[in-house]
């Protein structure tokens, strides 16, 4: 229930879709799970929690719409002012290319070991060039942390995977043993994806700060593994029909467990929101040679960002399918014709595209964000169990 606030004249509500202000006609009729729709754009509202102190806590009658659109000439909103804050990206491909040249040199000279430090230098640059509401982000990861994460991941997943996938064949074992080992290797790989996703996300968020406040991720890897494996299985059983729901569930888990300081992100997107578009995209694929997925990708990004909120604010993404198409096709040709050397420019193009189209609107007072102990954890290692040891691969 976003944009709910109280003024002298009663309870008000702002639709997060069209930003129309509504007055709650009879707040006494509101009760948890009462449903209503925005009169302007039909966006549904649900009363999530009605506290005892609030006047909003009574049953609504069927057919009685509890909302009333506030008159345009409503007096100025003195309590809360919804503010739009922009994201931005100031980096350029040339600087990043310079960084990557030195990185390649040092990586070659150190037989690849420097790769992890190189990654940190690139991220530090990209994060430092990203700004929100006039302040730059900062990346706090270190090369030795990434290196340790890599060693850990190789030990726990890489080496067992290689042994299972190739060992029996090289040793000339029986066919059934080879097949069993292959299957086990496949299982290990599938289980590794969610673990790595959570590990990488936790690591990146805890190493990211804005105005000195660290982000964090509080989801448990084990929960995500369960969610992922169930979803992947359902996806296979339903021949992919389940995919948009699976996608939304993953997004829900990943976003709603992410925090900035003491504030948690919220995500209220549903699989149904994209199911129609997804089916359409699948059906159009043979006709449009797959190019239509750019439009789906843009729609998905818009939907997911719009369903993401933080404190009293909501994100908006305005990128369109045509823009995604131009960006990605351009990047593809840049990379193919330079054998990959154009990647600093494609990276900055990608970053600029996302950040230029992203805004955060709402009455949230960002100054009230406070550092939480969780987010200040310096290493993210050994927090809660073996799976949460902060693997970092990407």
């Amino acid at each position: 229930m976003l944009g709910l606030f109280q003024t002298d004249s009663g309870l008000h509500l702002t639709c997060h879709q069209c930003r129309t202000r509504h007055r709650v006609r009879n707040s006494q009729t509101l009760k948890t799970r009462t449903r209503a729709r925005c009169k302007q754009c039909r966006t549904p509202f649900v009363v999530v929690a009605a506290e005892a102190e609030q006047p909003a806590s009574l049953a609504s009658q069927v057919g009685d719409d509890p909302l009333e659109t506030a008159a345009r000439e409503d007096g100025p909103d003195t309590n809360v002012s919804a503010q739009t804050r922009r994201f931005g990206f100031a980096g350029n491909g040339g600087s990043l290319f310079g960084i990557s040249l030195v990185n390649i040199f040092l990586t070659l000279v150190t037989c690849g070991i420097y790769m992890f430090w190189a990654k940190v230098r690139v991220r530090r640059y990209l994060f430092s060039q990203t700004e929100f509401a006039g302040d730059r982000f900062a990346y706090h990861g270190t090369g030795s942390e990434l290196f340790r994460g890599f060693l850990k991941a190789s030990l726990v997943f890489g080496i067992p995977y290689a042994c299972l996938a190739m060992g029996p064949e090289l040793l000339g074992m029986e066919v059934w043993m080879q097949v069993t080992a292959r299957l086990m290797a496949g299982g290990l790989f599938v289980a590794f994806i969610p673990v790595a996703t959570v590990g990488a996300r936790r690591y990146r968020l805890t190493r990211t700060s804005w105005r000195g406040i660290r982000c964090s991720f509080v989801g448990s890897a084990w929960q995500y593994v369960k969610l992922y494996l169930t979803g992947a299985t359902l996806n296979v059983i339903t021949l992919g029909v389940y995919y948009p729901f699976f996608d939304a569930r993953r997004q829900t888990f990943l976003v709603s467990h992410s925090c900035v300081g003491n504030q948690s992100f919220r995500f209220d997107g549903k699989g149904t929101g994209l199911a129609k578009d997804f089916c359409l995209a699948v059906l159009l694929t043979p006709v449009a040679l797959g190019l239509n997925w750019f439009w789906y990708s843009a729609k998905r990004q818009r939907y997911y960002w719009e369903r993401t909120s933080l404190a009293e604010g909501r994100f908006t993404f305005t990128g369109t399918g045509g823009e995604v198409c131009r960006l990605k096709v351009g990047n593809f040709f840049l990379l193919v014709f330079t054998l990959g050397f154009a990647w600093p420019w494609t990276s900055t193009r990608n970053a600029r595209f996302v950040l230029d189209h992203l805004t955060f609107t709402g009455s949230a007072d960002l100054d009230t964000l406070t550092q939480s102990l969780q987010s200040a954890s310096p290493t993210g290692e050994g927090l809660d169990g073996f799976l949460d040891t902060g693997f970092e691969l990407g």
Binding site: F105, L108, G212, N331, G340
Partner: protein, 393 residues
């Protein structure tokens, strides 16, 4: 300037310029407007409410501000650190002027030129190192490792793909004629010591091609066999393929491809999305380059093998001539870089110069063999239809 060094912090505060910035305490996201002064030993930060902080230079970490247009960000204290952000990068000059010896760990904009020049040096070094690795390092590594790979691994690899390349149902087997082919292999191998058991499999397939599988199996398509005019010409093809096996080209190719991938992973660092296509392009060009090197080696060593076996080298050249007429391939120019094989013309030229080493013209190879009959291995056995070339113009 002795006075200046002896002077107290207060003295230098009064002379140095004040910088506007904001301070983050690491506890909340609230920005506090501050003014910053430099002294000989520390930064002096004054909040709007008059509260003052002293940050000794040695304990300050700079996390941003090394690139043009980036605000200067300094951190101080244990995590979660306090931070000071000053958007005017001119501040850095002042800091370095105020305390040149204590601020060497902070970015100095005066050194940016040096950094740019070092970047150029790195670029040149990358090109040189990459080129050396690509041209000599990777092939060298492969030729060191390949001989140490157990023959059983190669044999198993060959067996794993043989059914796909030469399905049992498509194999042409007729003991008297197949033995003739084995005789040619034996003649070529001569006294050569090798851990492999060489074996020729003829497959019913109109393509003019032959393949060497690791571990000793040579697959010959009937299309190629039927184009050869003499046993000597076929021996030329076999000599080439035998050298692929003896020189372990498949194993070396696998090692070279793996190391190229590794090298590109190091350079590219990222295999996601479109990047993979760009790197795949680089990898393919590398693969083709190495493949052409193998073909050259197999040609040269095959010719040597032919000469040692006392077979007329002109036979091998003659067959390449036939191939050239049957399938002219675009050669020369840029196309040379996009091909797995060197152009047939170049190969003929090279073989001709190699064959000049032969002093005397050798006797006819296997004069007692009815080659017209042998090469029709995949045809019906009746002697009337034995000549495939005349029956399929």
């Amino acid at each position: 300037m002795g006075f200046w060094i002896l002077g107290s912090n207060l003295a230098s505060v009064t002379t140095a310029k004040a910088w506007a910035g904001y301070y983050l305490d690491g506890k909340t996201a609230a920005r506090q407007q501050v003014t910053v002064h430099t002294s000989a030993h520390a930064l002096l930060i004054t909040c709007e409410d008059g509260h003052q902080m002293t940050w000794p230079y040695g304990a300050i970490r700079q996390t941003q501000g090394a690139y043009k247009g980036e605000p200067v960000r300094l951190e101080y204290g244990a995590e979660p650190a306090q931070a000071l952000v000053i958007s005017d990068s001119g501040f850095l000059y002042t800091v370095h002027e105020a305390a040149p010896t204590q601020t060497t760990h902070l970015h100095n904009p005066l050194n940016r030129e040096v950094r740019v020049r070092l970047t150029y040096v790195a670029a040149v070094a990358v090109i040189v190192i990459g080129g050396v690795l690509y041209l000599w390092g990777i092939p060298g590594l492969a030729s060191v490792i390949a001989p140490r790979v157990p023959v059983e691994w190669e044999t198993r690899l060959g067996e794993a793909v043989i059914e796909q390349l030469a399905p049992s149902s498509a194999r042409c087997i007729d003991p008297p004629r197949t033995e003739t082919l084995d005789r040619i292999v034996a003649a070529l191998m001569g006294q050569t010591q090798s851990p492999y058991t060489m074996h020729v499999i003829v497959v019913r397939d109109p393509k003019i091609n032959a393949l060497a599988l690791p571990g000793g199996i040579i697959v010959v398509f009937s299309g190629l066999l039927e184009r050869t005019e003499t046993p000597g010409q076929f021996a030329g093809v076999l000599a080439h393929e035998l050298q692929h096996i003896l020189k372990r080209h498949t194993t070396r190719a696998i090692i070279e491809q793996a190391s190229t991938s590794l090298l590109l992973a190091v350079i590219g660092g990222d295999f996601s999305g479109a990047m993979a296509y760009g790197l795949e392009g680089a990898r393919t060009l590398g693969r083709l380059q190495y493949s052409r090197q193998f073909e050259d080696e197999a040609d040269a060593q095959g010719m040597r093998m032919l000469l040692e076996a006392g077979i007329d080298p002109q036979d091998m050249i003659a067959f390449y001539q036939i191939m050239k007429e049957k399938s002219p391939n675009p050669s020369g120019g840029v196309w040379a870089y996009f091909s797995t094989h060197p152009s047939t013309e170049d190969r003929i030229d090279r073989l001709t110069s190699l064959s000049n080493a032969a002093s005397t013209k050798p006797a006819t190879f296997l004069p007692d063999v009815d080659w017209t009959r042998t090469r029709a291995l995949c045809r019906a056995l009746s002697p009337q239809t034995a000549d495939p070339v005349s029956s399929t113009p």
